[in-house]
């Protein structure tokens, strides 16, 4: 199965293929880094979970300097609240052609957890579905728990991220 997924990924470099919810492909490299690849339709349910977990969904890319700069703040908060019902999800917007050379080594070197690839070039369709106010600039972060949600088209440091989640019950 992994071999099939691998082939699927590379064939998709030529022409983007619509994936359904159940057909997420997994990319593996020599160091055994796994990243699930989603198109927006498959990804969207992650923005509307109704359980009692607080989700911090960070949109980033390895080429985005301010995004990379703020990663430690998210990782620190994730560690600090590791015993709480909180999940930090790093949604990479790296280009599909740069996954092998850039994203996988980066994730491997930093030992990052919960990284997924959002591979959907039709931004004008999906950006407003993340948040109406989002122009598409990254870094951007969605924080939500059930019906309560806040969207930030800006960067965070440790202090401001802690403030942003202070309103949520944990």
């Amino acid at each position: 199965m992994p071999a099939l997924a691998f082939t699927l990924f590379f064939s998709c470099k030529e022409k983007q293929q619509k994936l359904t919810k159940n057909e997420l492909s997994t990319v593996k490299n020599g160091e055994n880094v796994n990243i699930e690849r989603y198109d927006f339709d498959a990804f969207e349910p992650l923005l509307h979970k109704e359980d009692d977990t607080l989700r911090i969904v960070n949109f980033w890319a390895t080429w985005c300097k301010p995004c990379v700069q703020e990663l430690p703040a998210f990782e620190q908060v994730a560690n600090e609240f590791s015993d709480k019902k909180m999940k930090v999800i790093f949604v990479s917007l790296d280009f599909p052609g740069q996954v092998q050379e850039q994203l996988l080594p980066f994730v491997n070197d930093r030992n990052m957890k919960n990284v997924i690839l959002l591979d959907d070039s039709k931004g004008n369709t999906w950006i407003p579905k993340v948040d109406e106010s989002w122009s598409g600039a990254i870094p951007a972060t969605l924080i939500y728990k059930k019906g309560q949600r806040d969207f930030y088209e800006s960067g965070f440091d440790y202090t401001s991220l802690k403030e942003a989640i202070a309103d949520y019950d944990l």
């Binding site: 030529e14 022409k15 983007q16 890319a61 080429w63 985005c64 300097k65 301010p66 917007l93 280009f95 740069q98 070039s121 039709k122 931004g123 004008n124 369709t125 950006i127 407003p128 989002w134 122009s135 598409g136 600039a137 990254i138 870094p139 088209e153 960067g155």
Partner: protein, 206 residues
């Protein structure tokens, strides 16, 4: 006397709140479709100053905020050249502006812009914004970010804001050419169907 004091207090409050509202509006800057755009005078990669007023015969402009390093900007460079070649002679030339602060990133410096323009063979001006912050007036918070302007009785009216097309990242996957459709509509004297769009981009480094 007491009445007067209350009146004075109310007056002061009214002034403060009026000011506060103005301040909020000020921070919500940026053009919307239909607004009048202001001209600029910025240095081009050939060391000459460029303003929209220099283009007497232009019917309007394709103003593109772009930069040297953002992968989305780079992915759109060839499309900007094609747009300029297609529409310059029809009255809508491309003018590119780099809004990034070069002092914090050497790769966005004026020298690096000259190099990039030469490498890519830009057919349009590539302007260095420096501290003039034109992008703030326009409301461009990321690159690439495009504004289509049209001359109407000596004013430059914003007609379209957003992405060049619906696949900013990958030119091979384009289904809808938003900007071309908008320019074609202007040229044909027809209403523009899609006047603003969104795309992923790199935040402008101020």
């Amino acid at each position: 006397m007491k009445k007067l004091a209350i009146l004075a207090t109310l007056a002061v409050l009214a002034i403060i709140s009026a000011f506060a509202v103005t301040t909020i509006d000020f921070w919500k800057t940026g053009y919307e479709v239909g607004d009048t755009a202001t001209d600029f005078s910025l240095k081009n990669v050939n060391d000459k100053m460029v303003s929209m007023a220099d283009y007497e015969k232009a019917k309007g402009f394709i103003i593109a905020f772009t930069c040297n390093t953002c992968p989305f900007s780079r992915a759109n460079e060839d499309r900007l050249i094609a747009l300029d070649q297609k529409y310059k002679d029809q009255g809508y030339p491309v003018i590119a502006i780099n809004p990034n602060d070069a002092s914090t990133n050497e790769r966005e410096s004026f020298t690096a812009m000259k190099k990039r323009s030469r490498e890519k063979g830009f057919t349009f001006p590539y302007l260095y914004e420096g501290n003039k912050k034109v992008h703030k007036t326009y409301g461009a918070i990321k690159t690439p970010h495009v504004y289509l302007l049209s001359k109407e009785s000596d004013e430059l009216i914003v007609k379209y804001i957003g992405a060049i097309d619906d696949s900013s990242r990958d030119a091979r996957n384009v289904d809808q050419k938003f900007l071309e459709n908008a320019v074609d509509a202007l040229l044909a004297g027809k209403p523009i169907q899609v006047t603003s769009t969104k795309a992923i981009g790199c935040s402008v480094k101020n």
